[in-house]
Symmetry: C2
Subunit: 128 residues, 2 copies
Amino acid sequence: MSTQVGTADAHGDVTHANSVAREVIDRIADRWVLLVISALGDGTLRYSQLRTRIDGISHKMLTRTLRNLERDGLIARHVHPTSPPQVDYTLTPPGRTLLRTVSGICHWTRDHLDHIETARRAYDAKLS
Amino acid sequence: MSTQVGTADAHGDVTHANSVAREVIDRIADRWVLLVISALGDGTLRYSQLRTRIDGISHKMLTRTLRNLERDGLIARHVHPTSPPQVDYTLTPPGRTLLRTVSGICHWTRDHLDHIETARRAYDAKLS
DNA sequence: CTGGATCCTAAACGATACTG
DNA sequence: CAGTATCGTTTAGGATCCAG
């Protein structure tokens, strides 16, 4: 597989397409993005629910991650006009397709955890 | 899907498993890791070939990424006893299974590039 | 050619305080 | 409850020099 991700059609601005592709990959290759998408795979969740579900995420990073994902059209934000306010987040259709990919990552991780731990110990031992 | 990735068997140290899982996710959720794995999907490559294929990667980050992937048993490093030295890198069997996941990310990105660009413009326009 | 070590800057992040 | 803004710290990462 090539590093080039952009659609290299005849008239397209390939350089631009690739820069955007890199940008999007950077968006996805983010621990918090992965965990948020994964959490929303269970269904709609409120801000506070995400906060407690995603272990270790800070107030600031959750907000930033949600804003970015919303901007990219991957999650939908709905504000209930109550007091105190309640805001919930849901995966959009494109967000749900991303969920499949993200699930793939999680499954791969779970399946290879032991392998990797063993490999790391073996590697570290060899440096003695 | 749950945030918990670790194998939560009866006797296992779940906390430990999850901390490792998080660690592994952090390893994969890395721009350079994704690009290196992707590049090696084409087959064995030498250090310098990776350097030129992966646009924008620095000497330091390529070396660090390769060391980490080697430690995790995802790539194999082979040194030819020549002068000057030649070193090539190949995906190991577990590395090749990761490649499928990584390819999924690349495909998803390519397929949703336009969607995301449009969504971003729409979002930004609404902030006027 | 490959790769380690060091310095240094820019960005990411957490903690905290404040608002509707 | 959800969100913004600011500050201070930590980290990632690039540039550079040296070595086998």
